[in-house]
């Protein structure tokens, strides 16, 4: 599976069809792969931004500066300033922690809930499996972004609600992946062996089987990290979820959108936050794609 936001995760099924050409990519060759190097470097950059962001910001992300309104990119303000004179670079750096933090929370929730449900469905089969899978089908009948949009709108605008809404849209993918693995792992000899020595079911699933069934879900998590950044930013671009004056990448693009329609055509206000989103997502996508080729060839 692959590709961005819940808005587009539906395309992800396609990418499963892409075969790994040379079966069994080795770790050694993986580290010489230019896409992986690019992907991992971008990830490192984004992670550094999230950790150090506020500490290395040259200016305050929220304090207005009437003297420096709408400045184009220059040595004092590398990415220019917005209509309140706030430094775009500082805001982009500060927002990294929020956006990346949301994306990690989304992925962690969807991954843990999804793989747990998938493991149970795949191991138990029967009625439990039927119920879980029918509910999964229903959730998948909504385009992910629409679902996230609807849930956030009904729950109200707040960061936790954004996390819940996007995580819910991605959970079915983890359920399906883990369930499929579990269905085959449960029939193996080591599963029989573990059963025979009297392990209780929860221990059998959690300790013996799940570690052998989790790889596809882990690889998927790398991709979901990137897509959920797109979703979060997409929601707040629409003014749903996180609003101004919070420094958030989608909010910043929305803010800059007004300015390309204005006389001055201040392009830098929308351009740089969007560019950073794209670089972050490229990082997660390239890394996720390569990891999948290496670890979980379809």
């Amino acid at each position: 599976m692959s590709r961005l936001s819940a808005s587009t995760r539906d395309l992800s099924d396609l990418f499963q069809l892409e075969r790994v050409r040379a079966a069994g990519v080795s770790w050694a060759s993986l580290w010489r792969d230019p896409s992986l190097i690019l992907g991992v470097s971008l990830l490192a950059l984004v992670t550094l931004m999230a950790i150090l962001g506020p500490a290395v910001s040259p200016y305050s992300p929220i304090a207005p500066d009437a003297q420096a309104r709408l400045q184009p990119p220059a040595p004092e303000h590398w990415m220019g300033t917005d209509k309140f004179g706030r430094d775009i670079l500082s805001r982009v750096l500060t927002a990294a922690r929020l956006d990346v933090g949301i994306s990690f929370s989304v992925t962690l929730s969807a991954f843990s809930v999804g793989s747990a449900l998938g493991a149970i469905a795949g191991y138990q089969k029967g009625v439990v499996d039927d119920v879980i899978m029918r509910v999964t089908d229903v959730v998948l009948s909504f385009p992910g972004f629409i679902l996230a949009l609807g849930i956030t709108a009904m729950l109200g605008n707040s960061i936790p609600n954004v996390v819940i809404a996007i995580a819910l849209a991605y959970t079915p993918y983890f359920i399906r992946l883990t369930r499929a693995e579990m269905l085959s792992v449960r029939e193996t000899e080591y599963a029989d062996a573990a059963r025979c020595v009297g392990n209780p079911t929860w221990r059998l699933i959690g300790y013996h089987l799940l570690p052998n069934a989790i790889t596809p879900a882990l690889v998927q998590a790398t991709l979901v990290l990137g897509w959920s950044i797109l979703d979060t930013a997409g929601l707040s671009f629409l003014g749903i979820g996180i609003g101004p004056p919070t420094a958030e990448w989608g909010v910043m693009v929305a803010d800059g959108a007004q300015h390309i329609f204005s006389e001055g055509r201040e392009w830098w206000i929308f351009f740089f936050p969007g560019l950073i989103i794209m670089l972050a997502v490229i990082g997660f996508n390239l890394t996720g794609d390569r990891l999948r080729d290496a670890l979980a060839p379809q």
């Binding site: 808005s7 395309l11 390309i260």
Partner: protein
């Protein structure tokens, strides 16, 4: 299993999913902690006004009664009333759906027209500059935020290069759009032989259509390349090469046909994506489709409109999946009807 039994089963499954979708939409709006009356009135509403509206909306009744009322309204094709437009939600949707479908159809045509040849080149001449460009486009399209892409298109092609019409809506607001036959402005104007209107509506489609096309071209290139590579590796292609057939002959007579199954499947998936992606693109380009309608409904807390639009999108989405599955069995007789 015979084809007829397979179809019956598949359609039954879709019906069950539809029922689930109705329950989910109902849950979304009635069971989740948010109070629809509160949402409509805002957080400063007086308790009296709140109680009055709750009574009016039937929110005081038990949840199963509310669901029964909702179901019986649905069965009569009644999606409720939008207090913002003053029309019924179904009338609003019928009015706006063609705009969304036209945009989706246009961008899918654009993406296919470019994506299929690029995918072919990427598979056949892997090291060519064009193949590299295709790869770059795939990464770009898969990672660029849709809203940023739309703004970039406007900034570059409208403001800087002055190549397009203003990115507002489907038609020049000062002119009369073509008489409504299909609701597709391009088709309607052609049907009436009105070339000026045709050019007008096409020029409005270009920017939003291209924005969506850049995003959906990524999976198209990937799928065409992957399925071509799979086919080109097979024995019968090696045989065709060995007996001296030319490369174009092999590609267009043998390989492409067999690579077509996943490619056609992809159309459905991409079309499904376009239904959802439209909220952002329709918002940026002021496109009067169902995405824009949903967006405005959410901002205005127009409860029935949100509910109806989400339901329509999900129902279309399930229908699309049904069609793909059925198409799949016709395209590839080897697929087991299990």
């Amino acid at each position: 299993m015979t084809l007829r039994r397979y179809l019956t089963r598949r359609i039954l499954l879709a019906l069950i999913t539809w029922l689930g979708v109705v329950v989910a939409v109902f849950t979304l709006t009635h069971v989740l902690p948010g109070n629809p009356a509160q949402v409509r009135l805002g957080s400063f509403a007086t308790p009296e006004a709140l109680r009055k509206l709750e009574l009016e909306m039937g929110l005081d009744k038990p949840i199963y009664v509310q669901f029964a009322v909702y179901l019986s309204n649905l069965a009569r094709g009644d999606l409720g009333k939008s207090f913002k437009t003053g029309q019924t939600v179904q009338a609003d949707l019928v009015q706006r759906l063609p705009a969304s479908l036209e945009l989706a159809a246009f961008s899918i045509l654009l993406a296919t027209g470019l994506g299929v040849p690029l995918g072919l080149v990427a598979a056949v001449k892997e090291d060519s500059a064009l193949a590299q460009a295709a790869r770059g486009l795939t990464i770009f399209g898969a990672s660029a935020p849709l809203f940023w892409l739309g703004l970039m298109m406007i900034f570059i092609f409208f403001y800087t290069l002055r190549l397009t019409v203003p990115p507002l809506g489907r038609f020049d607001p000062l002119l009369t759009p073509p008489a409504n036959v299909t609701g597709f402005f391009t088709l309607d104007s052609l049907l009436q032989g009105d070339l000026a209107s045709f050019r007008q509506s096409l020029s409005h489609l270009v920017l939003p259509g291209a924005t969506l096309a850049i995003v959906v071209i990524a999976p198209i290139i990937k799928i065409v390349r992957a399925s071509m590579l799979g086919v080109l590796d097979s024995d019968y292609i090696r045989t065709a090469r060995a007996i001296g057939m030319s490369l174009p002959q092999i590609i267009f007579q043998d390989a492409l046909r067999n690579a077509l199954v996943p490619i056609v499947t992809m159309f459905g998936i991409v079309l499904g994506y376009l239904l959802a992606g439209n909220v952002i693109v329709e918002r940026i380009f002021a496109w009067p489709g169902i995405g824009q309608y949903l967006y405005e409904a959410i901002l205005a807390n127009d409860f029935d409109a949100i509910q109806g639009t989400v339901l329509l999108i999900a129902v279309l989405y399930v229908l699309l999946n049904l069609i793909i599955d059925v198409l799949y069995t016709f395209l590839d007789p080897r697929i087991r009807l299990g």
